[in-house]
Structures are given as structure tokens and as C-alpha cells.
């Protein structure tokens, strides 16, 4: 791809970007959110067809006018957002639109046999006849990769493939990718996680503001240099220095136990007890499916199954059966997926910030926009929400700013206990740091923060106390000083219980 340019109304998304890929190479593509990575990938995939510059595949100048043409040229793209149909089985998804058929009749046995082979290649122990929607996000991601492999691609593009994967799943993916590149497949690998890039890639291209900053062999770079190139400035320390002294116990959960609503008798959480003090960040580590999200949902009263156990806030027992109870008790919940459950994208920043606290900030019945504005302005400035005004629609903001709006919504409710589920997912490096600083500052101000994250450095860097979940049980408790990532991982995989 040479001199690729692409404009959206008002934005120049790409400006003369040049990327090349050799057979058998793993080429990392990095850049902050909005740097143009996704746009570039979509041009490659034939999603965007009007662009400047030219693209060569195997020495031939190509200009794809559809996704289909791109696929036929041997390019397979795994997008960040999963594009599987949850109602269909794994096998149906893998061969969607390319079902093996004879005289228009689908050959189901052949389809499932082929799928089984592909899944086996990925070391995935999965029945291809299972409905895709019942699988966890991590597994779905691997199914998506199986789908790409089934197309005999010569160029494989992966956009943030590990965002929803556990470390074990990611390791598995890496070995698969290495194997594929040994077979001569060129791989473009987009990721925010720099250590993966060092693990995998031969060369790294950094994009910033729609331009190529550099393409260099990865082993000639270090993490600091890449970050500096991405943000155009040096980042000295990612995590804020910890100068908090936790106070009294503010939040206590005792014997939280839940069962799988679809499979009665199977525990999702089994006898979870922990406390969070004022000014403390409790980090919850664990692999995908260990019950991390379910724990936060249970505490917030929105778990679909039955929850037993006790919750105490500031010494008073509270009964939480719905988000309404939780909010009244002073709990806020920044969910994993802000687009699905955090924001009303069609509404303004203002309406989103005040959504959970309208009766207090605005009025019991009639809204008072000027009061809302006054209260929201303070928070928006404090969190540095970057938008032309508070009347900007939430859907038009970048990931980092959207996350700040969700945070602002909960600060507006005067929550004392803040539950954070993957607070920096899909957020660029600069905004990540701001969110870290924010979490630190909120804890400092006396809040109790319970944070779930798949990124271990994040858990270790921010938390005072670290809990490790494995199959619905706490298998490890650490303090900030005693923790090592190796110990957390061994508890998370259930190899050792270190309570």
C-alpha cells in the first residue's frame, strides 16, 4: 500500500500512508485510537472503496470494490468488533456465505467436519454445532480466526485480536500466528499491547494522525520509543505513584454465591468475600470466564440469576436487588462494554452524565438544564472530556472520552463505591494514563474502587489489594507489596491456591 489517503467529511483520516508486507512476515501496526489503523484496514478489506494512492497485491495493482474481491485476493480480516451471528452454530458462522454445497444443498457433515479440523488446528476444544452466542467473547474471537483461516488467506489482518482473550488464549493465538507465518502467510497485526508486538512481529509501523511515523524492524525498538512515536511525546511513568493510605472498611461483600441461570446447580460464583476500604483500589484478576464480570454484576444487582450473600456499606447492611438499589446505596458501575450498557449514544454528553442522577441534579419531575449544565461542566472539565460542547452526541466521541463520560455519570451519583469493569478497554495510550490518574485520584478522595481488568500490569500497577478469581472462587489474595505477576497467574490458572 503506497501513499494511501482517505478523507471523511471534516477529517483527513489517512494522509499518504505507506505499508508493505512480505510473505511470512508478521507486521505490527500501532498507533493511538484515531491514528488511522482501522481506516487503513478497512481499505485493505475492501470496505472503503474511495481512497487515494494505490495498493499492490503480489505485484499487481488492485483496487477492491467490495469485501468479496478482497477475500478472493486472499485477504482475510478479523475485525475488532466480532462479526459472528450469535444465533448460528460455530460451523455455520465459519462457513457463512461459503457453505460447502452440492446442487445448492448444504453438506452439513462436510461443513462440520471441516470446522472441527480448523478448530483442532487452533487447539480449540469446541463442538462446532454449539450456538455461537453461548460462547464467551474469547472463544468467539478464536472462532472468528478459524473463519479467516477457512478462506485460505495469504494475507491475514488482525485488529486487536487479544483484547478479549485471556493470557492462555493469547499465547495459543501467538503460536498459531507463528505457525501461519512459517507457512508463508503475511500477517498484519494491530494491537495496543506493546509486549505482544515485541513477542510477535518482525517489523513495526507506527501511525499517528493518519501518517506513517516510521517502519522499523521491531528488535531495534523498545517500548518507550514506540510509545513516544505514537503519542509524539515521551511518557515517563504510566501509573501514578501510589501515595494512598486506605482508611476504614467502606464496602464489604460476604459469601456472595450465584448460580448459572441457564444451568441450575452450577456455581458462577462460590462464596466470595472481600472488603474494600475508603481510598483503596481492589484489583480483581482472573481469566476470562472466572466470574469477574459476574461478580461486579452481582454486587450491582443486575446479575440475571439468583444471588445470595450479604453486602455491607459503611457498616450498614444493604439489600441490592436491582441497579436502582445499588445506586441508592452509593455504588457506581462502569461496565465492560460502554456502547452496549454504558452510554446512550444518540444522546448528548450532558444527558448521559446526568442520566443516573436526574432526580438529584436536575429535579424530581421537571428537568432543569441549567443546573445540570453547571454540575456537569465541573465534572467534564475535571475529567478533561474533550468535546466541542456538552451538547455533543456521545456517539461521536473517541473511546477514551466516552469512558470519561461514563465515569462522570457515576461521579454525578455521588457513588462511594465504584465498580470498574475493564476501564481502559479500547482506549488509547494517552487516555489510558488519564484514566489511571483518575482512578488514583478518586481513591485518594475516599472512594472504594473495585476494578476488574484483563491487563495484569494495570491490576498490579493500580491496586492496593489484588484478588484472583478462578472458576468462581477466590484463589489468591495479595497486597501491593507482596504481589508478582507470576504468582497471580498461577492462582488464576488454578495451579495453586494462595489465600
Amino acid at each position: 500500500m503506497r501513499g494511501i489517503g482517505k478523507s471523511f467529511p471534516g477529517v483527513r483520516a489517512l494522509d499518504g500512508v505507506t505499508v508493505d508486507l512480505y510473505p511470512g512476515e508478521i507486521h505490527a501496526l500501532v498507533g493511538e485510537n484515531g491514528a488511522g489503523k482501522s481506516t487503513l484496514i478497512k481499505i485493505l478489506a475492501g470496505v472503503y472503496t474511495d481512497y487515494e494512492g494505490e495498493m499492490q497485491v503480489n505485484g499487481e495493482i488492485r483496487r477492491f470494490s467490495s469485501v468479496r474481491e478482497s477475500e478472493q485476493a486472499g485477504i482475510a480480516v478479523v475485525f475488532q468488533e466480532l462479526s459472528l451471528v450469535p444465533e448460528l452454530t460455530v460451523g455455520e458462522n465459519v462457513f457463512l456465505g461459503r457453505e460447502p454445497s452440492r446442487f445448492g444443498v448444504v453438506q452439513w457433515d462436510e461443513l462440520y467436519a471441516k470446522t472441527s479440523r480448523l478448530l483442532a488446528e487452533l487447539d480449540l476444544d469446541l463442538n462446532p454445532r454449539v450456538r455461537t452466542g453461548t460462547l464467551g467473547t474469547g472463544t468467539q474471537q478464536l472462532v472468528e480466526i478459524a473463519k479467516a483461516l477457512s478462506q485460505d488467506a495469504r494475507i491475514l489482518v488482525l485488529d486487536e485480536p487479544t483484547a478479549a482473550l485471556t493470557n492462555a488464549e493469547a499465547e495459543n493465538l501467538f503460536s498459531i500466528l507463528n505457525r501461519l507465518s512459517a507457512q508463508g502467510i503475511g500477517i498484519i497485526y494491530v494491537s495496543h499491547r506493546l509486549h505482544e508486538i515485541f513477542r510477535l512481529s518482525q517489523r513495526t509501523t507506527v501511525l499517528r494522525d493518519g501518517r506513517t511515523v516510521s517502519t522499523e524492524p521491531t528488535d531495534r525498538l523498545n517500548e518507550q520509543q514506540i510509545i513516544a512515536k505514537m503519542v509524539g511525546r515521551q511518557i515517563s511513568q504510566v501509573f501514578p505513584a501510589n501515595a494512598r493510605t486506605p482508611g476504614d472498611v467502606l464496602f464489604e461483600a460476604r459469601h456472595i454465591t450465584t448460580q448459572n441461570p441457564n444451568m441450575p446447580g452450577r456455581f458462577v460464583l462460590n462464596d466470595i468475600s472481600f472488603t474494600a476500604r475508603c481510598g483503596e483500589v481492589v484489583g480483581i484478576a482472573g481469566l476470562m470466564g472466572s466470574g469477574r464480570t459476574e461478580l461486579l454484576m452481582s454486587l450491582f444487582g443486575c446479575f440475571p440469576g439468583e444471588v445470595s450473600g450479604e453486602i455491607t456499606i459503611a457498616g450498614c447492611r444493604v439489600l441490592i436487588q436491582s441497579p436502582i438499589d445499588a445506586i441508592a446505596a452509593g455504588i457506581g458501575f462502569v461496565t465492560e462494554d460502554r456502547k452496549r450498557s454504558g452510554l446512550v449514544l444518540d444522546q448528548t454528553i450532558l444527558a448521559n452524565i446526568t442520566l443516573a442522577s436526574l432526580d438529584r441534579v436536575s429535579g424530581r419531575w421537571v428537568t432543569n438544564e441549567s443546573r445540570e449544565l453547571a454540575a456537569s461542566r465541573v465534572l467534564a472539565d475535571d475529567l478533561r472530556i474533550k468535546a466541542s460542547s456538552l451538547f455533543t452526541l456521545a456517539g461521536t466521541l473517541s473511546g477514551g472520552n466516552q469512558q470519561k463520560v461514563v465515569l462522570a455519570k457515576w461521579l454525578m451519583t455521588q457513588a462511594r463505591v465504584l465498580l470498574l469493569d475493564e476501564p481502559t478497554r479500547g482506549v488509547d495510550v494517552g487516555a489510558k494514563q488519564e484514566i489511571y490518574a483518575m482512578i488514583h485520584r478518586l481513591a485518594q478522595s475516599g472512594m472504594a474502587v473495585v476494578m476488574v481488568s484483563s491487563e495484569l500490569p494495570e491490576v498490579l500497577g493500580l491496586s492496593d489489594t489484588i484478588l484472583v478469581l478462578h472458576e468462581g472462587q477466590i484463589t489468591g489474595r495479595f497486597t501491593r507489596d507482596s504481589v508478582t505477576s507470576e504468582a497471580v497467574m498461577s492462582c488464576a490458572t488454578g495451579q495453586q491456591v494462595c489465600a
Binding site: 467529511p9 475508603c278 450491582f300 443486575c302 459503611a314 436491582s322 441497579p323 436502582i324 445499588a326 445506586i327 441508592a328 452509593g330 458501575f333 461496565t335 452496549r340 450498557s341 454504558g342 452510554l343 446512550v344 449514544l345 444518540d346 444522546q347 448528548t348 444527558a351 446526568t354 442520566l355 443516573a356 436526574l358 432526580d359 436536575s362 429535579g363 424530581r364 419531575w365 421537571v366 428537568t367 438544564e369 441549567s370 449544565l373 453547571a374 461542566r377 465541573v378 465534572l379 472539565d381 475535571d382 478533561r384 466541542s388 460542547s389 451538547f391 455533543t392 452526541l393 455519570k409 461521579l411 451519583t413 455521588q414 462511594r416 485520584r441 485518594q444 478522595s445 475516599g446 472512594m447
Partner: protein, 408 residues
């Protein structure tokens, strides 16, 4: 502990007063694009322009009959029934639901109001109450089945479409009944005195001036650039001129029809409810993202039930006007009104996926549909052609909207 946190936030907020100013000045560079209120207003005036264009076309092809005071008055009166239902319908649509039963409910509520007059000689108030209570109960029942019973509203109200019509036919035994109470008939047929119309429009103009000036002073208070004199006068003049012209046009015939007054009151209340109350904000949140609304502590079920109940009551009001205008209650009254009301909402910019739509848009949509009906009838366009044209315009209106959004 809460107090402490609050203080912390306040303190940091003050420290950051400077960035706040920076944000404010930056805003002044491109205020147009990002202001929700003007963009909505622009859209509304766009619809008014489309309406005016249609009126011009109709008055040309009918040699001016279309815009004669008599016909204009008639047209507006026709629009009142659809308009009142649309105000309620848009609330239900905003939550992502639909109500297909309103046409049948018009038939049922209207029939019930007349039957209590016919059999038991109930007076104006009692027969009105009968209609309203039936509307409220039907709306609340359907809302309850949708929100608490988790039956899709499409199915609930499709059942209602059949069932309520059936009840109306049953209680009337298929016959048509005349109105007994004279004042009841006035609700659909009487006119306000010319001077009353003028007084009302004077109040409207004063209210417009006050609200624009009030909004402007709020902008100043929040550090936003105040509107220029031109923008200010445009904001005052446009709605004022429209209101004055409207009343004069109606006065040129017989004065403002009572149904139109009722529509205006209903529309203003509906606009207030959707735009300036917590309930309204919840409606948009529920339709825009039900999951986020639930996680924000909104009681989805009760709000959806209330929206349906409001629609039920408004439908009953529309039923009274409809029956009063026709002069009698027949078992087929109000057939297909649900389609007019839904079309009005959609033409007015509501999204059936929920989260989008305004009361003003729905009212303009209702006027649009009524004008289309009226104009084509004047031109003696055959019934079946009218239906085809109306269907085509509905699809085209949404098509244009989708195209416009894609371009954005």
C-alpha cells in the same frame, strides 16, 4: 465520607476553571454544528417548508380552493385527531415500542361515550370520563403486557387492533348512534370567537419572546456566546409570524376550531413532557439504549407502561373529537388511524428503533398527512390512488432521512 468526596471534586473543579474558559471559547468557533437545539429547529423548519411547498402545489392544481379559508379550516380540523394521537404515539415509539391498536381504540372509546348518552342519558362530563377511563385502561393494560409481561408490543397491540374493534362492534351491535349531548358535539364542531383566537395568539407571541430571551440569558450565564441580534429576532419572528398567520387564516373563516385548540394544548404538554421532564429523558434513554438505561437505575417497565397509558388517554381524547366531528359513533370509526399516526411520527423524524423523535415533528407529520388527504380528495383523486400515494410518500420520507444520515 460522601461530603469529603464532594469537596474534593469541587476543589479540583475550581482549579480547572481556566480550561473551562478554554473550552467555551473553542466552542464559539463552531457553535452551529454541535447545538442540538438549533439542528432540531432547522429540521422542523425544513418540514414546514416541505408542507408549504405541498400547499402551494395543491392550491395551484385546485385553482386556489385548497387554501381558501373554509378548506384550510377544515384541513386543520382533520389534522387535529391524527395530531393528538401522534403526540402520544411518538412517546411510545421513542421507547422503541409501537401501538397498532389506536384506530380500534378510537372506535371503542367513541362508541362507549355515545352509548352511555344514548342508553343512560349521561351528560357531557360523565360521557367524557367514560371515554378517558377506557383509553387509560386499555393503554395501561397494553403497556403492562408489554413492559411486565414481556410480550412484544407489536403482538400485544395487533391483538388489541382486533379485540377493541370487536368490542366496539359488540356493544353497538353493528349500529350507528347519534350524539345526544349538544355540548359534546361542540368539541368537534365549534369555533372559538375571533377575539379569543387573537387573545391566544397574543399570549403565544409574548411566551415566545420570553422563552427566547430566557434561553439567551441562560447561555450568557453558562459562558456560552449569546445569540446575535439577527439570530435572536429570527428565533422570535419565525414562530410568531407562523402563529399570527395561522390564527388570521383560521379567523378568515369562522375562528379557531375547538379541536385545534385541544391539539395545541396537547402538543405543548407533550413537548414539555418529552423535553423538560425526567420522565421524558428516561423515554429517550430507554429507546436509545435500554441496557444503559437499566444500569443507570431507570425503571424501564414503569416508564414504558406510563407511555402506553398516556397514549391511551390521548387516543380517547382524539376519539371524542373524531366522534363529535362526525356527529355520530359507528362501529368502524377510526379504522386505519393507527397507520396515519405512525406515519406522522416517522415523517416527523421518529425512528422505529427507538431513541429518536419529537412531539413537534409528529404534529407536523400529522399536518402533512392531513394535507395530503385533503388535497387529493379536493382533486377527486380516486381512493385507491390516494392509498398508493400515501404509502409511497411514507417510504420516501424515511428513505430521504436515511440517505441524509448516511451522508453525515
Amino acid at each position: 465520607m460522601i461530603v469529603k468526596i464532594k469537596e474534593e471534586i469541587k476543589v479540583t473543579g475550581n482549579v480547572n476553571a481556566a480550561p473551562a474558559e478554554a473550552v467555551a471559547t473553542k466552542r464559539s468557533e463552531s457553535p452551529k454544528k454541535h447545538w442540538r437545539v438549533p439542528s432540531g429547529t432547522v429540521r422542523a423548519y425544513g418540514m414546514v417548508a416541505a408542507l408549504v411547498l405541498m400547499w402551494v402545489i395543491f392550491s395551484v392544481v385546485t385553482n386556489g380552493i385548497f387554501l381558501e379559508p373554509r378548506n384550510f379550516s377544515n384541513l386543520i380540523r382533520q389534522a387535529a385527531v391524527t395530531g393528538i394521537i401522534s403526540v402520544g404515539m411518538v412517546m411510545v415509539i421513542v421507547t422503541g415500542q409501537i401501538d397498532l391498536s389506536v384506530g380500534s381504540l378510537v372506535g371503542l372509546a367513541g362508541m362507549a361515550a355515545i352509548l352511555v348518552q344514548y342508553y343512560w342519558h349521561w351528560g357531557l362530563i360523565l360521557s367524557l370520563c367514560t371515554a378517558l377511563v377506557i383509553g387509560l385502561m386499555v393503554g395501561a393494560l397494553q403497556g403492562w403486557l408489554t413492559a411486565y409481561g414481556k410480550i412484544p408490543s407489536f403482538i400485544v397491540t395487533l391483538g388489541g387492533l382486533l379485540a377493541w374493534r370487536g368490542v366496539a362492534k359488540g356493544i353497538s351491535q353493528g349500529a350507528t348512534y347519534p350524539i345526544e349531548v349538544r355540548s359534546f358535539r361542540d368539541l368537534g364542531q365549534a369555533y372559538l370567537g375571533r377575539s379569543v383566537g387573537l387573545a391566544l395568539v397574543a399570549v403565544t407571541v409574548v411566551a415566545v419572546i420570553w422563552s427566547v430571551l430566557h434561553r439567551n440569558s441562560m447561555r450568557k450565564r453558562h459562558g456560552l456566546p449569546p445569540w446575535s441580534v439577527a439570530a435572536l429576532s429570527l428565533r422570535i419572528m419565525l414562530p410568531s409570524v407562523l402563529a399570527v398567520g395561522f390564527v388570521f387564516a383560521l379567523n378568515a373563516y369562522a375562528g379557531v376550531p375547538v379541536p385545534v385548540l385541544i391539539l395545541v394544548v396537547v402538543a405543548l404538554s407533550g413537548a414539555f413532557l418529552t423535553e423538560s421532564t425526567v420522565f421524558g429523558r428516561h423515554l429517550y434513554a430507554i429507546g436509545g439504549n435500554p441496557e444503559a438505561a437499566r444500569f443507570s437505575g431507570i425503571n424501564l417497565r414503569s416508564q414504558v407502561l406510563i407511555a402506553f397509558a398516556i397514549l391511551g388517554v390521548l387516543t380517547a381524547i382524539a376519539a371524542v373529537i373524531y366522534t363529535a366531528r362526525v356527529g355520530s359513533a359507528g362501529p368502524d370509526a377510526g379504522t386505519l388511524l393507527e397507520l396515519d399516526a405512525i406515519a406522522a411520527c416517522v415523517i416527523g423524524g421518529a425512528s422505529l428503533a427507538g431513541g429518536r423523535g419529537t412531539v413537534l415533528g409528529a404534529c407536523l407529520g400529522a399536518l402533512f398527512m392531513a394535507s395530503l388527504d385533503n388535497g387529493m380528495s379536493l382533486k377527486n383523486v380516486p381512493d385507491f390512488v390516494q392509498d398508493v400515494i400515501k404509502g409511497g410518500i411514507l417510504v420516501a420520507a424515511v428513505g430521504f432521512d436515511v440517505m441524509g444520515k448516511r451522508r453525515e
